[in-house]
Symmetry: C3
Amino acid sequence: MTVETSSPPPSHEPLVMDRQALNHRLPAVVDELVRSVHAEPRMQHLNRVLLPSRDAAVQCIGMLQQLAFPGYFGKQGLTTENLPFRVGELVIELTDLLYDQVRCCVRYREKLPGTTERGRECDACDLEAARIVTTFLERIPEVRALLATDVQAAFDGDPAAQSTDETIFCYPGLFAIFVQRFAHEFYKMKVPLLPRIMTEYAHSRTGIDIHPGAKLGRSFFIDHGTGVVIGETTEIGDNVKVYQGVTIGALAPAFGQLLRGHKRHPTIEDDVVIYAGATILGGDTVIGRGALIGGNVFITSSVPPLNQVSAEPPKLKYRDRRPKGRVAEVLDFQI
Amino acid sequence: MTVETSSPPPSHEPLVMDRQALNHRLPAVVDELVRSVHAEPRMQHLNRVLLPSRDAAVQCIGMLQQLAFPGYFGKQGLTTENLPFRVGELVIELTDLLYDQVRCCVRYREKLPGTTERGRECDACDLEAARIVTTFLERIPEVRALLATDVQAAFDGDPAAQSTDETIFCYPGLFAIFVQRFAHEFYKMKVPLLPRIMTEYAHSRTGIDIHPGAKLGRSFFIDHGTGVVIGETTEIGDNVKVYQGVTIGALAPAFGQLLRGHKRHPTIEDDVVIYAGATILGGDTVIGRGALIGGNVFITSSVPPLNQVSAEPPKLKYRDRRPKGRVAEVLDFQI
Amino acid sequence: MTVETSSPPPSHEPLVMDRQALNHRLPAVVDELVRSVHAEPRMQHLNRVLLPSRDAAVQCIGMLQQLAFPGYFGKQGLTTENLPFRVGELVIELTDLLYDQVRCCVRYREKLPGTTERGRECDACDLEAARIVTTFLERIPEVRALLATDVQAAFDGDPAAQSTDETIFCYPGLFAIFVQRFAHEFYKMKVPLLPRIMTEYAHSRTGIDIHPGAKLGRSFFIDHGTGVVIGETTEIGDNVKVYQGVTIGALAPAFGQLLRGHKRHPTIEDDVVIYAGATILGGDTVIGRGALIGGNVFITSSVPPLNQVSAEPPKLKYRDRRPKGRVAEVLDFQI
């Protein structure tokens, strides 16, 4: 067999591999990879419409944060005078970015046949994208008004908060709610992918996983937040407080995809408090107005209004560890 | 009504919206947003002193990491010879950044009347900022000495750790403790905002939420760490180990803001181990020296020294799932 | 005492510290820091071989993501025609980066005497690095094939998933598994540091902590994922589903470092489902094929195949909160 100098040598002795030999293997590595891409259609996106970009979504969230909380993020030194210019600048930038992203999503939703041409014709998609972005932009003031109630709720609810400024700056719960409220606007307009990319970015930063489909009331407060899960068809009333590690989820998805589209998650009415680690499951479960759900409570059925539910704490066993002549005794405690 | 060509047309037909029409709407969108900003004072920071910047705080943490663990992060190839130059360079950069940030915080604390001029006079603030930064810089060696005990504790405590290098490089618990120990220095000097921005950055990266106010002893080890919450007035002794999902928190903040400033979180004495998912609550709760707190234990009262506390595990129910003629049986298991 | 103008004045009055005086202190601060670095060998990496870089590891993960899921991340507009070029470009870039990183790791493993010269001779290390990188690159298609089963499992397992595209784009569980499967390849070849840096990056982004040593079967699905911990010597079969907050861990590491290298974590057989918050501990614990482990179950012994295990839920106490003349009653509920 003739081997050209530039092609990979038929080396089968891994131990004499050096950097040069590694380079010679690369063409074969590339061939194998290309073959592997064609072999597995679920793992590639070839010859198809452009997808939205996670980076662009993250950028949009940054601009929305500046618009929602002007003066806290982004450029410093905002005044009554320069505010309209800064807002104008941000709105124009955001519009460009969102229009591109939403157009990708709408074309994706329409299952357009594959193309990579940016200019590919789908006039209906473009009109739909323009309509969605306009509606979204016009909704920002209303979302801001909701967020103001969340800011106040975070300050009122946490004795460690020194100011509402601190809650805006630092509170991961507020960040997750901020992202979800905007993502929810896209969800309502049936934009695919983008809303979930947005909330998963918040999940990544905060450990708080609120599906963009969840309906959140006013003055919602999540403290600490790591591990919170709030499912797609959850409905949450006003003045609800949730602590870290709370799951508002579905019962076991025994029928998996069959449940898609049904109400699978609980309804939480106004003025409910859910303490850390509680789990509330099921689409028929309603936590009535003013109920208090204790830490680590596990609930799969409804709770009447104005009830407090606590788990009878497991009996604790105490044992003296003072060594009776044997130091090793300390070591036999298992978790 | 006369409408200029450049102003938004009074369009009320959302379905014929195209990109052009969207652009025409933007001036109205901006007006609405500006109105919304003025309507909600809790959600804007206009005409007021400059705020610290989250990005700058993150940069400071990066430099502190290089100073605390030289040779592990940042520039490679540190030697005995070039170390002083690299440290000098970092200290100067860090000082500039910190001075600006701390000055913002002090001016914020003094509730200076609004201004956006960077040069606005507050000589007392500037002196205070210089004093705080100097004290902070002079404290770095002592904080490093504490961190060295944490590095050793992480290696000793985890059989999966291959070297102390690995714990410095990879352990999220060490990162969270590193950030908190430095943030705590600012907290002690009553710098607002900055310490919390720092610990919330660590929280975001690690899922470990240690309030900058918490007092941590030597040789503190947090394993895995996701979901750990350690409250503001917590006191932790030496050689304490904490596993993932542990909360050292306050009892229900029934009186909310009224509790601000009081001791609301437990005291953990030396040599205590707290296993995964345990919850310890209350400002009067003291976990005595050498106690072991079992996984998922829920405690709201003190534990004497050298005791081990475990929750009587809930009885487990086992059920055979082997189908007796019906495959569907597999599906009726709910969580 | 004569003080030169450029040296720090012997100031002991912290209250008259200004920016100028702060600058004068800096040389002393630097001296103290350098002294502190020399005093604590566990906290510096001086005069030693180059270490791998976290930033470079993160870059590698980005490129692997583009190779594993072409068209979803990185450059848009992939087609059958341009795919080989894009793959080729990525493979070459990745090879350069990986070779450098792996070489650092191998030299580190060989405990080479200190040097900062990049060109320091260790021919055996360089050959070993080339061998490792070649093996790794040749394994990518097989890892992709495994990942394709994970993508399908995520879609099948979650009724909220709208498409496999969404699972690739958004699901933190898939991201964590993707990183672990590649890190595991380096772990198998005994590369130190790098694999753990990779999985801790995934941990940081997702709250899912899978040690690079864990053996994962096909079609592995982790839903939500925050708080999941999967230990080093865990073995997981095919078609396993795990929900948020699940720990597959070791019993109390009473003997700490003595356990290093032993099987300390459970074996999970095929078709097992583990619901949220369950804890499964111990190297002898085997969860038999087809078992269902209920939420919050705490298990330290084996479960036979086709069994379902659920914790008898703690009794819930309900109490009416309706005020009987006293509003304050609402306030005495403690967690």
